[in-house]
Amino acid sequence: MQDLTSSLKDVRGATCTANTPSDDVLLAQFARGDAAAARVLTDRLGPRSFSVALRMLGSRAEAEDITQEAMMRLWKMAPDWVSGQAKVSTWLYRVTMNLCVDYLRKQKPDRLADVPEPEDGQASVAERMQDKARKDALQVALSQLPERQRQAVVLRHIEELPNPEIAGIMGISVEAVESLTARGKRSLVAILSDRRGELGYDDD
């Protein structure tokens, strides 16, 4: 286990260059028994799965479980992956989103989302508190959106994916993605507008 952790530290921060193998190639290498390929894929794809799961669920512990399950499915799928048929990241986003939706549907409808911990660096205490309030406000507002709108907004405006890729992930048309993101943003504006006074925007 120590070996795994130390290896992880080695690949952390590594940037994807032209010489870095593609996700396709790494997945094929893993399927042939290359453990190092799993470490690079985890470093490259794990954060994406975790990020969307955290935004969809609002709970760090649940997002971790979802990400672990999504990555497990990636490892098991590796021998059957046909290179070039789709992006591995698109496949992983789709699996993660489906797991999140399944999870949300099993929960009580009035469940309030937990909020993720702040990731701030050097900001002052006052700034951190205000920043946290704003992040929490966004998370609470996201949690009030219908699932499909939430998915579209998270993938488009936080993960910054192009609409055709979002359409592939969600299994809908590009037009439907555009409609969902537009409606999602309008809903978020309305929710945040109601809470504006609590967030201290006027201090900017």
Binding site: M1, R39, G46, Q68, V189
Partner: protein, 117 residues
């Protein structure tokens, strides 16, 4: 505050969210890599098994070497019966070719086929 300003405010929040994407927790990375290792070792075990030859699969299919012995004995008996038919059995050649058949395809009742369509 106008609607446009509200939208700008949302864009600001989304920008902050993009700039503070969470890193993968180390504990989660270890869990993921532990799973990967289990799957990798499992696949290696399966892949490491020697491929079974066609002959081995045929022998297994008829019940192993004991079944294979029975199959050989039955085949030998069939050949012997065909070569030297006992008196109490009719000659198969006469039985097949000794009488003309009056059976033609047009006699078949095909009405049941129409019912199924």
């Amino acid at each position: 505050m106008t609607m446009t300003e509200d939208e700008k405010q949302l864009d600001q929040l989304l920008t902050q969210a993009r700039q503070s994407r969470p890193e993968l927790p180390d504990t989660l990375a270890v869990r993921i890599l532990t799973d990967a290792e289990e799957v990798r070792l499992g696949q290696k075990t399966l892949a490491g098994k020697p491929a079974r030859s066609l002959w081995t699969r045929i022998v297994d299919g008829v019940g192993g070497w004991r079944g294979m012995g029975g199959l050989v004995a039955a085949s030998a008996a069939g050949v012997w019966i065909g070569f030297a038919a006992p008196g109490f059995l009719p000659d198969p050649a006469t039985y097949i070719y000794g009488q003309e058949t009056s059976f033609v395809l047009a006699d078949l009742d095909t009405s049941f086929l129409e019912d199924t369509e």
